[in-house]
């Protein structure tokens, strides 16, 4: 009996060790292969110029259009998702805290939406655009990505807000707070570290997605000056460069991937820093 338990213990420890190893190795392998292929062709020129004529055939220029476009689009989508998502997440956990069935239905719908592939959001956005006769544009792309990101952001916020004990809600109400005050002054503060992580996670998802913007944001060699112009994005820029038969252009695709990975890494690190900073007043229940 005891031998069997010891064997189990050992078996699962080895299993866990190897799982960890596989994940860590995969992460390191991805980052290093992108860096290995991309770093040599990264240049200052590439980061600061828009494509010149024939860029995709190996001529002069850079991917500034895609860098700026991606930042515009994902920042816009993150801000819009936040404006819709935070009230919804707070409503679910402050106003509806005892409405178990309703909240679980909302969670289920959000989880379904989370699971819908982003290409479907792209197709949906495209269908709506053709119906209203709107052309591919920064605005259309931003709205589509917003729809795609909202379920992700709301569920990430929801998981954090869910952990606030009902006792804190009751205490706040007993002090004469309204529910709105409880939501924005108590719950928001208690969950600030987690909420900022949710926002930056959503930003990461928004900037990395290619399928939802393929038909809605379009692509351009210029930096858009108004929301009704098409916009370039890093994932699509990588896609177009990688599809080129010219090796030099393919190398630039990896360089673009390096830029994308660095942006995502920086946001993750920033999100960690923010969480730590706002951790101070959080109560550990």
């Amino acid at each position: 009996m005891i031998q069997k338990k010891e064997f189990e213990e050992k078996f699962f420890r080895v299993l866990m060790f190897f799982s960890t190893l596989i994940i860590a190795a995969a992460l390191i392998f991805i980052i290093f292969s992108v860096l290995y292929k991309g770093l040599p062709s990264i240049s200052w020129e590439m980061l600061t110029q828009v494509p010149e004529g024939g860029f995709y055939f190996g001529r002069e220029g850079g991917i500034l259009n895609a860098i700026v476009g991606s930042l515009y689009l994902s920042t816009g989508a993150t801000v819009m998702s936040f404006l819709v998502g935070l009230p919804l997440a707070l409503y679910m956990n402050v106003h509806l805290v005892r409405y178990g069935k309703l909240v679980n239905t909302i969670r289920f719908i959000l989880d379904l939406l989370w699971g819908v592939p982003s290409i479907v959001y792209g197709a949906f956005g495209f269908a709506v655009m053709t119906y209203f006769g709107i052309r591919v544009s920064l605005l259309a792309g931003t709205i589509t990505v917003t729809l795609f990101v909202i379920p992700i952001m709301v569920r990430a916020m929801d998981e954090i807000l869910k952990s606030v004990p009902v006792g804190l809600l009751e205490s706040s109400l007993s002090l004469g707070s309204t529910r709105a005050e409880t939501a924005y002054k108590v719950f928001f503060r208690q969950c600030l570290p987690g909420l900022s992580t949710a926002v930056l996670l959503s930003f990461g998802r928004a900037i990395g997605d290619a399928a939802s913007i393929l038909f809605t944001a379009g692509f351009t060699d210029y930096i858009p000056t108004s929301p009704d112009q098409p916009v370039a994005t890093l994932p699509l820029s990588i896609f177009f460069q990688l599809s080129s038969p010219i090796p030099q252009v393919q190398e630039r695709a990896y360089a673009s991937a390096v830029v994308l990975v660095i942006i995502i890494l920086v946001t993750s690190i920033l999100s960690r820093m923010f969480s730590h900073r706002y951790q101070k007043n959080k109560i550990n229940f």
Binding site: R98, L169, E170, S174, L175, G176, N281, I283
Partner: protein, 253 residues
């Protein structure tokens, strides 16, 4: 001596869905005294207390009928704003729930949401209420520190002070010492004895000795019903109901 009753509960029924939790409760709570609600776990003590400041409103399945009069006003059938009713009652929960902010703001929060914003006024009030719960000397140099860094006992006193700061005349305490060590519990009990001069205190407890130490008035509940109520001396000295007797003697089934 006739007691003046602060809270009068008449025919209060409460059910969650089809499950009755409180059955036809009639009870009176005297002013400026400590009223202990006692009874075995699951008898509806906490629910009764939460219906006093209508925290039961949070639950959509809760159906409440009957009346609760506070100073003659039926709070279950009133057009008065619910937040104003709740401000008349400070709540002390089973464990401290400090607000996620610093010590100073924990007290100032309730004042600020009622529209008091002048710093000098807030400073004075914060000091006053921290002194009232004997916390001032322990925290006066660390008012800007997060409330979560205080010990659990200090947090519970902070929660008491925070409740007092919004100017209630009733204190609702739901097993307020159950998470505390003996010395912190004593501090809270001592405060209750001081505070009853100016506040009506409703204390839910299942600690019999605590009930005996503190109670002026007792409501004994069993299975959602009030079995017996009256002055502490009568209930503890000469209970009329068999059930109360056996509960007090520790033989309970």
């Amino acid at each position: 001596m006739m007691d003046k009753f602060k809270i009068v509960i008449e025919n209060l029924n409460l059910q969650f869905g089809n499950q009755p939790i409180l059955k036809n409760i009639c009870a009176s709570i005297p002013e400026n005294k400590i009223t202990v609600i006692m009874g075995p776990s699951g008898c509806g003590k906490t629910t009764l207390m939460k219906s006093l400041n209508r925290l039961t409103d949070l639950n959509p399945d809760a159906k409440v009928t009957g009346s609760i009069f506070i100073d003659g006003q039926d709070i279950l059938h009133t057009s008065e704003n619910i937040t104003l009713i709740r401000k008349k009652m400070g709540l002390l929960a089973q464990r401290p729930y400090p607000l996620p902010m610093n010590i100073y703001n924990n007290i100032a929060y309730g004042l600020r949401i009622s529209g008091r914003r002048k710093k000098r006024y807030l400073d004075k009030r914060v000091e006053h209420y921290l002194r009232q719960v004997s916390l001032w000397d322990e925290v006066k140099d660390r008012l800007k520190e997060p409330a979560g860094r205080l010990s659990i006992g200090q947090q519970q006193r902070l929660c008491l002070a925070r409740g007092l700061a919004v100017g209630p005349d009733i204190i609702l305490a739901d097993e307020p010492t159950s998470a505390l060590d003996p010395i912190s519990s004593q501090a809270i009990e001592g405060k209750f004895n001081e505070l009853k001069k100016n506040y009506t205190i409703v204390l839910v407890t299942h600690i019999l000795r605590q009930a005996k130490r503190l109670a002026d008035h007792v409501i004994f509940m069993y299975m959602g019903e009030v079995v017996e109520q009256g002055p502490a001396s009568e209930i503890f000295g000469n209970p009329r109901q068999e059930m109360t007797k056996s509960y007090l003697n520790g033989i309970f089934y």
